[in-house]
Symmetry: C2
DNA sequence: GCAAAAGTGTTGAAGGTACACCCATGT
DNA sequence: ACATGGGTGTACCTTCAACACTTTTGC
């Protein structure tokens, strides 16, 4: 049956062409490192595996790429199926393809990283997963397969991205205080930032719109709430402006 | 036969496990964007395809990943087999996996970028290729498949890498003049650089060793020849130094 | 001596870092 | 009134960009 499928695919061109190659092929998967924002930690979305290998172990959400869907579509589908989330930002990280990384057989996984606004996404487990939940990034259990290495690479990538592209805003609620933004940067970069300098730089970019609203219901002076002005960002980008924060 | 192979692979674990998935799988390939340095241009290594589809068209060297080799090993093997080159730097770019990118069937390609020192590598054609040769990057023929998009992504990546990591030196001969280095940066970045400022910055990093030799046999004042001090770079990196040029 | 590229410093502007106190609110 | 985090400006230093002429060699 599988062989028959391949033969059909091989005959799809305008004239008969040989099947692309004769050898057994690696399986192709996607895995997603999904970041969210907790109270005072960066969080990571994990699923508890229901099947061997590594049944009962926590792992990155992911699965196999279908023959008729793009790689990114596969990543989004698996995230929705396995964990019930659909991120705003989802990009490729890189392929992980060591020969022994899956004990069943050769599986090459194209790792992705994604950001979701924590509040909107109550994860729910589904296909192949007993459970799905958030863990603080640095209080996560040891992961199945080579997923610890994938997470490490994704964290490194996030640290770079957040400084050069306005992706941090995709972790925050639509409206946020400058302190929340600064805390996000401190969590991601793993070091404290100077309050005055941080605010100066952020505001100097003129990408934050002051909503005029205050965050009441807090037991101290209520902070101003800002909104990231994506339209302004895209306009400025076209004019050669380069985002840079810390 | 192919199905039998898969079944064997599925039974390889410590206890019987189901085959990872039942569906037809995408084929997995690698493609390599290999940069070299010409007299006054950046050059790109291309192969002329011998087989359909796109027979007679120029394309990136590449091919299918074997089930028992890592992705990078596949890229190096294909480069050696198809074009007879073996680069010093070879890194993943990203996967290209649009459903229609190969007319035969679904093929996901993991693109790589690589740097070789031009002189050392006379390309020679082999497997599946009628010819292999260097083209000036911006005088290249239109490429097969989606390879033009892959090249564009690789150039963009190279532009970033060269500013933040000392990869440029892997395009130059072991010993080079500051003018050669500057010309390389100008080619990659696509803009002229100020001679005095460039030299000031390069030398301030203290990563170039003055060989004391001069490049004779040139019809003007002979330039000093420098060597990139990789050991010093690695020592400084461990101490937190960050390479940055332009 | 002429052509060709090598080599060399200074100045002004901008941006980065360090740093401490008062303010508005809830309890 | 006190606890909690919100909000603000300046001075110094480093870094970056702009800029032109003299030197050495081959022919």
């Amino acid at each position: 049956m599988r062989a028959a499928q391949h033969t059909r695919a091989g005959a799809r061109g305008t004239r008969p062409m040989a099947f692309t190659y004769e050898h057994p092929r690696p399986a192709l998967a996607v895995d997603c490192v999904v970041f969210g924002l907790g109270e005072r930690t960066l969080e990571l979305l994990l699923v508890e595996r229901d099947l061997e290998p590594f049944a009962g172990r926590w792992a990155l959400p992911g699965g196999f790429v279908r023959v008729d869907e793009s790689i990114d579509a596969a990543a989004r589908r698996e995230l929705l199926e396995e964990a019930g989330v659909s991120p705003d930002v989802l990009e490729q990280l890189r392929a992980f393809g060591d020969v022994g990384r899956d004990p069943r057989e050769r599986v090459v996984s194209i790792a992705h990283w994604a950001l979701v606004r924590g509040e909107r996404h109550r994860p729910r487990a589904a296909t192949d997963a007993r459970a799905a939940r958030w863990f603080p990034l640095d209080a996560r259990p040891p992961l199945a397969f080579d997923h610890d290495a994938i997470v490490a690479a994704a964290v490194e990538r996030l640290r770079v991205e957040v400084r050069w592209r306005p992706v941090g805003f995709d972790l925050l609620p639509e409206v946020f205080s400058l302190t929340e933004l600064q805390r996000l940067y401190e969590m991601v970069l793993g070091r404290p930032l100077d309050k005055r300098n941080f605010r100066k730089k952020v505001l100097a970019m003129e990408l934050l719109e002051d909503t005029g609203r205050l965050d009441e219901g807090v037991r101290h002076r209520p902070p101003r709430l800002y909104r990231f002005d994506r339209a302004a960002y895209e306009r400025l980008s076209r004019e050669g402006f380069a985002f840079r924060l810390e």
